[in-house]
Symmetry: C2
Subunit: 291 residues, 2 copies
């Protein structure tokens, strides 16, 4: 089965568990709205690629891990879009959840998706007779999502008078990419530690690419309001290094990511996937910036 | 060790994991502010009482379960107090988290506490060599917290044009009491199913008691804004049955709760605890209502 089909299938199964004729209908709808149609699904794709490189001996569990990770990512987008944060009108080319459903339902959608992520891991751990791996997956996902070093911490830095830039980037963006590589390894019964650098480097590359896109592209292409970082005075690679500098930095980081891949049977295929993702995230810059 | 010391100790350990010198300081502070000093800690007390009745053969795990449950409860209070829900100025006699720290930090505090709850279960499952029980605990807690039947669903009903009253009460209030009895049993290696009714009945009693308090007591005694249900037009036992009717209903439910306790070595002690909790939740009504 194609990786994208595995991801959508696993997300569909997870969503099915959260829905029932006895549940409040609007919140049910909002959960699906926040998940489907998705973005690039880059985090679960990396997770399944790492699981594959490690042998993927329990594909039901790696599918669940991929879904859980994407659920947390989607939850973070819904909450980040709230009026008290980015107040985003649109997301993935359609109205943000709080615009489409209301602010209370957006808060609850995020909360419910977080719960559903952990439900998905524990439920599949039990059905696949893989409780120990499931507990390790819960631990990796919660650490990379919460405090002191997960995406909540990253967002929390934006309320500080002085930002620790390294901690900010590591938690705000890299954390869920580290979760992707860690959880891919854990799903296949491997230790997560050797896979952390790969996740951190992909995350760093993604942050720089996002900064480039945010600085250069228009709202229509982006599917969300452009220039948000500048608007909110958040630190970013383009204001620090310029466009050319940021592009050079992105290439360096990706080379480092490929070099960091631990020796394993699927090493070559995984390097190919990272190169492919690199192509996908490298923004197509306007003519003026190519010179 | 006293139950209350076990709960505070376990919450302190959990909070310690979420804090670090490298974390954003305000969010760190807000996490502690949302947890300590606590309310009655009634849910974790019930959890530990059920674990005790079931033999409590892995007290480290039941302590972690108690902490995780209370973390979810505190997270739900922080989010329910947000301006888009109750817009509560105070909670437990001090400013609500969003008033004390800001709305973004209140959203992130709730999210971080949810993550921390699952982290606590998985971490302790690994250290106590009890992964299977930990996975079952994650599953119980996520189901009773999220959609379609947990506290998120309960809050979600308030955005519906028509409310399914049974589903509303079961999810809004009873769900975390069901989690308390289920998780107490699971922590001690027992099946959760026989313990569900006890949790549901305690939850129902608590809802009626809360309705009585909310309808009758003033803001100072309550430590939060009074009359919120009336204000928001939410269904409640007092408007349905009157004060006397609601008090009679409360006594009936508690008798049913005690009768529902499964046969177990600690049955008598548990019945005593339920009676004690019943005393504690029964509101001391103003003179005019006693006749």
């Amino acid at each position: 089965m194609r990786v994208s089909d595995r991801i959508e299938g696993a997300l569909g199964s997870a969503l099915g568990v959260a829905q029932s004729a006895q549940a409040p209908a609007k919140l049910s709808e909002a959960l699906r709205y926040a998940i489907v149609p998705g973005g690039a699904r880059i985090r679960p794709t990396i997770l399944l690629s790492v699981a594959g490189a490690c042998g993927d001996d329990c594909p039901g569990l790696s599918d669940a891990a991929a879904a859980a990770l994407e659920l947390i990512h989607c939850a973070s987008l819904v909450h980040d879009d709230l009026p008290c944060f980015d107040d985003a009108e649109t997301r993935r080319g359609k109205p943000s959840v709080h615009r489409a459903y209301s602010e209370p339902l957006a808060v609850l959608t995020g909360d419910s998706l977080i719960m559903l992520a952990f439900d998905t891991l524990a439920r599949t751990g039990r059905s696949e007779n893989a409780d120990a791996r499931a507990a390790q997956l819960v631990l990796s996902l919660s650490r990379r999502s919460g405090m002191p070093g997960g995406i909540c911490a990253g967002q929390g830095w934006e309320s500080e008078p002085e930002i620790d830039l390294h901690a900010y980037h590591m938690s705000k963006t890299a954390a869920l990419f580290i979760a992707a590589t860690e959880m891919g390894a854990i799903s296949a019964g491997h230790e997560p530690e050797p896979w952390r650098d790969l996740g951190a480097l992909i995350g760093e590359a993604f942050q720089v690419a996002d900064d480039l896109r945010d600085a250069l592209l228009d709202e229509e292409t982006l599917g969300k309001p452009a220039g948000q970082d500048d608007l909110h005075g958040r630190p970013n690679a383009v204001s620090e290094l310029g466009v050319r500098g940021a592009k050079a930095r992105l290439s360096d980081i990706l080379a480092g990511a490929i070099a960091s891949i631990p020796s394993c049977p699927g090493e070559a295929a995984l390097a190919k996937m990272v190169r492919y993702q690199a192509e996908a995230i490298m923004p197509k810059l306007p003519e003026g910036y190519r010179a």
